[in-house]
């Protein structure tokens, strides 16, 4: 630590970085937003995003507080399986690639994942799905807002509430001005910043401490972290795979991108994004294994990554960590704000409350939704309610129940709405039971298994034959 206060950066420098980055992103968002003429431009970037931006946004959005703060936290708790397990979340992006291509083909005029569930399964499944989506979106939004506050506090001693408020204001600002176009363009730059920063920190850590020293220290004093048969860690590995699949397969963050990418881009962009993401949690995670060697015992496990980097690289390291985590948080927060506001605007407001709303009206409402979501998130973030990992894994019980209903809904005509609704509801309830009775590391696993069982039963018993044409809903806008 370089400052006399015991923090790597002074509060003034931390706040200056936030203000500079904030201004840059908001101005860039405003500049890009000038091209948005319709609601479709704002929500789906005109459905015309090219391969480079598409791949970068897939990768950058998936690099979140999970990867930069929680991957080191889980490595610190579960050792090698913690970081390897985290990297397996790349499977979500890779396996979503064919789904994205099919979504684009089946729903050329679609807007959201909610559109798909409503048209494919009907009302009861839609309600279950929207509830899951809202719980997940808020869980993620809150964890990202909290991560902003934790980061600033860990690195500069700035009050948690100031950091959390700052990152929310910045992301709401540029998403409000630029819509999905701004989100995707900033993601490209943020992706480059994240990768270069992570590589720089890892390189300096290896150069300073060496992999041999880290390994021997862990082997002598914390051998369970290198244990390949660590039971809870193996359970975590499988749980994380299903959690990642559930997160991506159901969330409108990924559906809206699939619908926004140019015709043939969706498949290859998700595939490349996943492959580029795969090694990142291992690079960020192994940093945590150096903590005992450096005499770092963080007050909260999710601070371990930033604290190690700041210790090894001093002030410059702290600035790099700060910029990397800030970019990672922003690249996910903006995506989530945009995608959730699309769900609120399209699925709830337009389809349920105001079916005759015109294009300009929807565009205005979408902006209000972003603002409203930002304020709600801020209110939920005010009390620091849980560690980031615990909060995210709670959401695993919800999202893993959607994996089979989504995949079967896209590829199989026979699964009916009744079974899909039942699979999502009972899957979620069982996952929550697993979370409270056994532990967070089984929530997604239990939820997905129960949901799969009900879907299997549905396929056996159902005589339903869905007509794919029903997914191609035509739009009627009054003005």
């Amino acid at each position: 630590m370089t400052e006399a206060s015991g923090f790597a950066l002074s509060s003034t420098l931390g706040l200056t970085l936030v203000v500079l980055f904030g201004l840059a992103w908001v101005l860039f968002g405003w500049y890009l937003g000038r091209a948005n003429k319709t609601h479709e431009d704002f929500a789906l970037a005109g459905r015309n995003v090219g391969f480079a931006l598409a791949s970068a946004t897939a990768m950058a959005t998936w690099v979140t507080s999970n990867t930069t703060l929680v991957a080191p936290q889980l490595t610190y708790q579960f050792g090698v399986w913690g970081m390897v397990g985290y990297s397996f979340a790349a499977l979500g992006l890779i396996l979503f690639a064919p789904l994205a291509a099919r979504i684009k083909r089946l729903m050329p005029n679609g807007y959201t994942s909610g559109d798909f569930v409503r048209l494919r399964y009907g009302q009861s499944a839609w309600w279950a799905f929207i509830l899951i989506s809202v719980v997940y979106a808020f869980g993620w939004l809150i964890s990202l807002g909290m991560a902003g506050g934790i980061l600033l506090e860990a690195l500069s001693g700035l009050d948690y509430h100031i950091g959390m408020t700052a990152i929310l204001i910045i992301c709401v600002g540029y998403t409000l001005f630029g819509g999905l176009r701004a989100v995707i363009a900033t993601d490209f730059i943020q992706a480059l910043i994240i990768i270069l920063g992570v590589v720089l920190i890892a390189w300096f850590l290896i150069d300073t401490v060496s992999l041999e020293t880290i390994h021997s220290e862990v082997q002598d004093n914390h051998p369970q972290l290198l244990d390949l048969l660590f039971p809870a860690a193996i359970m975590f590995l499988f749980n994380n795979i299903f959690f990642g699949l559930g997160e991506i397969f159901h969330s409108n963050v990924w559906w809206s991108r699939a619908l926004a990418f140019k015709g043939s881009v969706a498949f290859k962009a998700y595939l490349l994004g996943g492959v580029l993401w795969l090694p990142i949690p291992i690079v960020t995670g192994f940093i945590a294994l150096a903590a005992p060697q450096l005499g770092i015992f963080p007050p909260s496990a999710d601070m371990v990554g930033p604290m190690v980097a700041a210790e090894v690289l001093g002030k410059i390291g702290a600035v790099v960590v700060f910029i990397v985590v800030f970019s990672a948080l922003a690249s996910s927060l903006d995506s989530l704000l945009a995608a959730t506001s699309d769900l609120v605007t399209r699925d709830i407001y337009h389809k349920k409350l105001k079916p005759d709303a015109g294009d300009k009206h929807l565009l205005r409402f979408n902006r209000y939704s972003i603002l409203g979501l930002g304020i709600l998130t801020w209110l939920f973030c005010l009390p620091k309610i849980a560690t980031l990992g615990a909060l995210l894994n709670f959401a695993g019980a919800f999202v893993a129940s959607t994996i089979f209903p989504i995949v079967l809904g896209l590829y199989n005509r026979r699964l009916s709405g009744r079974y899909a609704a039942l699979a999502m509801t009972l899957g979620t309830l069982s996952g929550l039971a697993g979370y409270f009775v056994v532990g967070f590391y089984v929530a997604a696993l239990v939820s997905c298994s129960v949901s799969a069982l009900i879907c299997g039963l549905g396929l056996l018993l159902s005589k339903h034959k869905f007509d794919w044409q029903q997914l191609n809903e035509q739009e009627e806008h009054s003005a």
Binding site: A45, G46, N48, V49, G50, F51, A52, L53, S55, A56, M59, V80, V84, S87, R181, F188, A191, L192, I195, L196, V198, V199, A202, W203, I206, L211, E212, H215, S216, Q219, P223, L226, D227, L228, L229, K262, L272, L276, L278, P279, I280, I282, V283, F286
Partner: protein
């Protein structure tokens, strides 16, 4: 069964090299899209 030094070092170094390649790939793709006017 614990992970040995060689396996640990190889895992970390391979992942570090792969991560370092990502910006080159992304910038290359962006240039290709920019030249062919396919960014948006």
């Amino acid at each position: 069964m614990t992970m040995g030094l060689t396996a640990f070092s190889t895992l970390v170094l391979v992942c570090l090299v792969l991560t370092a390649c990502a910006p080159v790939i992304l910038i290359g793709l962006w240039l290709k899209d920019f030249i062919s006017k396919q960014i948006w």
